[in-house]
């Protein structure tokens, strides 16, 4: 009962936050979306001010009373300073860079300031973790990038949810905060596991059922050495020759050109699905690097053979978003065949 009420509460809260933050990637702060309350230190000073008022009144001690008023005045001014400090900033969440499951993904924030206040701190709370950004934007230096290394995420497409931004300035008596809800999800590809790729030739009917496939082994056949060209990948550079002082030469591989085929998930049905996806993740990158035209068959979802950066991204995205349900469907299809 309580759990369901809690869930309902958080659902309403989240909806409200999304509405309030207006789903902006780049967000300026103002009266419409900024909240302000004393920090624990602020509450303590207010409590002390009240205690001192009582103490000063009881002892009829004007200096103690003055101290109490000084604390109250500090709190009052801090409220305004903190608000103006916070609202001078604008936070721009750039599209999260896709990363692999065994690595900590980066989230880049661009923070700009209209520069009235220098110093202070901004904190970003993402998925319960606090990332502290000591403001280093000086007057006249209006933008700064803040690179957040998120914790490792499992393979998949993750919506980061609301990002809480809070700002503390001056004596740390007040805290302003607001929410940003990024539109773009964080894509996490499977981690990679090395294994040589086996391409399957298929009939035009790519449904898989009637496919009479033959296997093509891919190996790195070195054809020769040639002058390095700007478009050559760095790992084709023959460093041996560079070391000997013979200039920048590239290894020329010829095997891949003209080969076309399919990578099949069902090749790895005996393995756990995540491991299979990791192997495929390695293979699509290798094939793409070698400019092989290949297709990807994940059972329910297929990507037609192609090559290039866009194709690679499409394949990786499919691997990242592959769900267990479609896997089951694929298994069922295999069993049926």
């Amino acid at each position: 009962m309580i759990t369901s009420i809690k869930k309902r509460y958080w659902a309403i809260h989240y909806e409200w936050v999304v509405k309030k933050a207006a789903a902006q990637q780049a967000q300026g702060f103002g009266l419409h979306n900024t909240f302000i309350l004393p920090t624990s230190f602020g509450w303590s000073t207010i409590a002390v001010a009240i205690c001192l008022f009582v103490l000063g009144t009881n002892y009829q001690n004007n200096i103690v009373l003055s101290l109490s008023y000084l604390l109250l005045a500090l709190n009052l001014l801090s409220l305004f300073h903190n608000y103006f400090f916070f609202t001078q900033h604008k936070v721009d969440v750039t599209r999260p860079i896709p990363d692999y499951a065994n690595r900590k993904p980066h989230l880049k924030l661009s923070i700009s300031s209209s520069g009235t206040y220098s110093g202070g701190e901004l904190n970003f709370i993402i998925e319960g973790l606090i990332y502290n950004y000591p403001v280093s934007i000086k007057k006249g230096h209006h933008k700064d990038n803040f690179d957040i290394r998120l914790p490792k995420h499992p393979r998949g497409i993750h919506y980061l949810g609301k990002i809480t931004v809070n700002g503390i300035y001056g004596f740390g008596l007040f805290k302003c905060w607001s929410y940003i809800v990024p539109d773009d999800p964080l894509v996490v590809y499977p981690a990679v596991e090395k294994q040589a790729a086996i391409l399957h030739k298929m009939n035009d009917d790519v449904s898989g059922k009637e496919a009479s496939d033959s296997q093509i082994s891919i190996s790195d056949n070195l054809q020769g050495i040639r002058q390095h060209q700007k478009t050559d990948p760095l790992h084709h550079v023959s460093w041996k020759h560079v070391a000997k002082g013979q200039g920048l030469l590239s290894k020329d591989f010829n095997e891949s050109t003209g080969i076309s085929g399919w990578l099949l998930l069902r090749d790895f049905l005996d393995l756990p699905i995540e491991k299979a996806l990791m192997i495929l993740c390695f293979q699509v990158q290798e094939l793409s690097r070698d400019k092989v035209s290949f297709g990807l068959d994940l059972g329910s979802h297929k990507i037609l053979p192609n090559s290039g950066e866009k194709h690679l991204k499409e394949c990786l995205l499919s691997l990242a978003s592959y769900s267990a349900e479609s896997n089951n469907n694929a298994k069922a299809a295999t069993i049926a065949s």
Binding site: S40, F41, S44, T45, V48, C51, L52, V54, L55, G56, T57, N58, Y59, Q60, N61, N62, I63, V64, L65, S66, L67, Y69, L70, L71, L72, A73, L74, L76, L77, S78, F80, H81, F84, D92, S110, G115, T116, S118, G119, G120, E121, P134, V135, S136, K138, K139, G140, H141, H142, K143, N145, I168, Y169, G170, F171, G172, L173
Partner: protein, 669 residues
């Protein structure tokens, strides 16, 4: 120590230093074991600024805290509530320093220290202490700022702290003036170990403790002539009952309310008294006082002993205006005086004195002759004045008169009063203060070491006659103050004696001393004594009448004024009325963007200008590069360069960039 203090450790180090600074003036109420804890905690916390010392484990610290709390409870009875609270705060701060490893720990330390400073203000309220503790408060706020300063360095942080504080002060002052003063919510505990003022009993056999303190008792600000040193007898308490060892107030004199109006005549002194809290109801005045105005919350009366008193114990400073008529005889209220009580002596005590008086055959002598005969004993025999007399606990008058012949004012007063009573002359002891230091032209400052006791004897024709037996032995005591009548050993008893003597001997320091006194006097009048009446008089001066309607108008107007002040602070006037707020590089980027060059988010100004440099002409490139160099030097280098130089470079660049545009547009047209 050659190690550099890391910026992250700077707040903790300043907090430790401020803690030491705050605790020093509170030395007296702090227990010895708390001092030990304090030294350890400060040592460890100070060392942490230079070495990596791990904080204590929570479990260990909690157990230690329980132990300390136990000790505080055990000792609390001896120290009183207020002192125990001070000790508790010091212990709490020390323990927090021992486990200091988070920002929130430092926040707790700051809050405790603010409370500690408030306690300091209960003990000390002089202007010097107010300045002293203001420095501590500034330092604590600086620590609070450093904790959230981000990448701001310590110097600019200090400037920001100062700026914020300066903005705060007017609001605090406005609140101080406006917020209505309330009466105490409940009875507050007083300091149990403070140096007491005059007490309502005098035991001459005990050791002198009054004269050991240089604490302020009261200040008198004269309007016109000030009395000569020999006339400055500030009457406070009259003691009439003697039990053989101690003089006390036997039965209280009747208040003067229903008595016939005294006819005041003769020479008059007009003055204002600002008295520190005495914890008794007795106040101070020269004879014969007439209260003309009272600016404290309690009424002040004169009783038949010519003493001034309030309704209850003066726990707050008192402020009242008097007239004194020193030439008048103290012969009023004869009808109601009970002379029996002024002849009371305990039975079977001091036989030697009794026998000596009997041997004098005083039966046919008048009061003045008796007084002369009795006081001649002090002048003719080897009596001396000292603050360190021997203990005289049994037959104290006998021991003093015949054995030791050494003592201070209360010994002499006690002995003479006793002798007069034996000789059938009604007599009593008056305690109060004698003398005082003249500051400036019109202020007399009276301190605890001016405490004095003298004798009054009754004569039917003259009334009460003041006799000061101490002055017969140490006439300098009367004319030049306490120090002149003491030898070196004695004068060491007085706190801060060296300082006072130096002040008296050096002209410059005396001037300084006078200045401090006057500052304290004004501070006392303007701040310490600011109360409901002061608020009422402000209201009256503004509105003519202090009624509820005017009070509400005053309050609303004050809060509007505070609001206006805040608006003034936060409205971006500069941005509204000038372009000065916009930084130079933004103006350059805007100018270049107007020319169609877009700056990427990730680019710095330098990278942006380098990228577009092929598209600018040589002159433009030169000027833009010159501006960038000046701007980067101003912004990031330690080299000092004025902002006006940066602006000059900017103007050149902008002019050059727009010139080309104009030329181009002219050409197009």
């Amino acid at each position: 120590m050659s190690q550099q203090i890391s910026p992250s450790k700077l707040p903790a180090l300043i907090a430790v230093a401020t803690f030491c600074y705050t605790v020093m003036p509170l030395a007296s109420p702090i227990m010895v074991w708390v001092w030990v804890l304090f030294i350890c905690a400060v040592g460890i916390a100070g060392a942490r600024a230079f070495y990596d010392i791990p904080p204590l484990k929570n479990m260990t610290l909690n157990l230690f805290a329980v132990f300390c709390l136990g000790l505080l409870v055990v000792f609390s009875d001896d120290y009183g509530l207020l002192s125990t609270m001070v000790n508790l705060l010091v212990v709490a701060c020390c323990l927090k320093f021992l486990m200091l490893h988070k920002k929130s720990d430092l926040h707790v330390i700051l809050v405790v220290q603010i409370f500690l400073i408030a306690c300091g203000f209960i003990y000390h309220q002089a202007v010097g202490f107010a300045i002293y503790y203001s420095i501590a408060i500034c330092s604590l706020l600086y620590v609070a700022f450093l904790l959230n300063a981000g990448n701001l360095r310590s110097k600019p942080s200090f400037r920001q702290t100062t700026k914020l504080l300066i903005q705060t002060v007017p609001i605090a002052v406005a609140l101080f003036l406006v917020v209505p003063r309330l009466p105490p919510f409940w009875q507050t505990p007083t300091e149990s170990n403070t140096k007491t003022g005059l007490s309502e009993s005098v035991t001459p056999g005990d050791i002198a403790n009054l004269a050991q303190s240089a604490d302020l008792v009261f200040r008198a600000e004269f309007n016109g002539e000030i009395p000569a040193p020999a006339e400055r007898y500030w009457r406070s308490i009259v003691l009439d009952y003697f039990d053989g060892a101690t003089w006390t107030i036997g039965s209280e004199a009747i208040a003067n309310d229903n008595q016939p109006y005294l006819r005041y005549e003769g020479n008059v002194f007009r003055y204002l008294i600002m008295a520190e809290p005495t914890q008794t109801k007795w106040l101070f005045s020269l004879d014969i006082p007439r209260v003309t105005d009272v600016m404290s919350s309690q009424n002040i009366y004169m009783n038949q002993n010519y003493q001034l008193h309030a309704n209850g114990a003066a726990t707050q400073p008192s402020l009242y205006v008097l007239e004194s008529y020193p030439g008048m005889k103290l012969d009023h209220y004869q009808d109601t005086l009970n002379f029996e009580k002024y002849l009371q002596v305990p039975n079977n005590t001091n036989p030697q004195t009794n026998a000596w008086i009997d041997s004098l055959n005083l039966a046919n002598k008048n009061t003045l002759e008796i007084i002369q005969l009795l006081t001649s004993k002090f002048t003719q025999e080897a009596f001396s004045y000292t603050l360190k007399p021997p203990l005289m606990q049994n037959e104290s008058v006998d021991q003093f008169l015949f054995d030791y012949q050494r003592g201070f004012c209360s010994h002499y007063a006690s002995a003479l009063t006793y002798m007069l009573r034996i000789a059938n002359v009604p007599a009593r002891i008056v305690t109060g203060y004698q003398g005082g230091q003249v500051q400036g032209d019109a202020i007399i400052t009276v301190r605890q070491y001016d405490a004095h006791a003298w004798v009054e004897a009754w004569d039917d024709t003259v009334g009460w006659i003041r006799i000061d037996p101490t002055s017969l032995v140490a006439p300098n005591r009367l004319l030049s103050g306490l120090f002149s009548s003491l030898d070196d050993e004695d004068s060491d008893l007085i706190e801060g004696n060296e300082l006072f003597r130096n002040m008296a001997s050096f002209w410059g320091l005396k001037q300084l001393n006078d200045l401090i006194t006057i500052a304290n006097h004004n501070w006392s009048q303007m701040v310490l004594d600011f109360d409901q009446d002061s608020q009422r008089s402000i209201l009256e001066s503004l509105f003519g009448d202090a009624n509820a309607k005017n009070l509400i108008t005053f309050l609303i107007a004050s809060f509007i004024a505070i609001g206006a002040f805040i608006t003034f602070l936060f409205v971006p006037w500069r941005r509204w009325f000038s372009a000065g707020e916009v930084s130079a590089d933004v103006l350059l980027v805007e100018a270049l963007e107007n020319k169609g060059y877009d700056k990427h988010v990730s680019e710095t100004l330098k990278q942006f200008c380098q990228r577009i440099s092929p598209e600018l002409n040589r002159e433009q490139n030169n000027l833009v590069n010159k501006f960038i160099d000046a701007f980067y030097t101003y912004q990031y280098s330690t080299e000092s360069i004025k902002y006006s130089q940066v602006e000059a470079c900017l103007m050149d660049s902008l002019n050059c960039l727009t010139k080309r545009k104009n030329k181009a547009s002219n050409a197009n047209s």
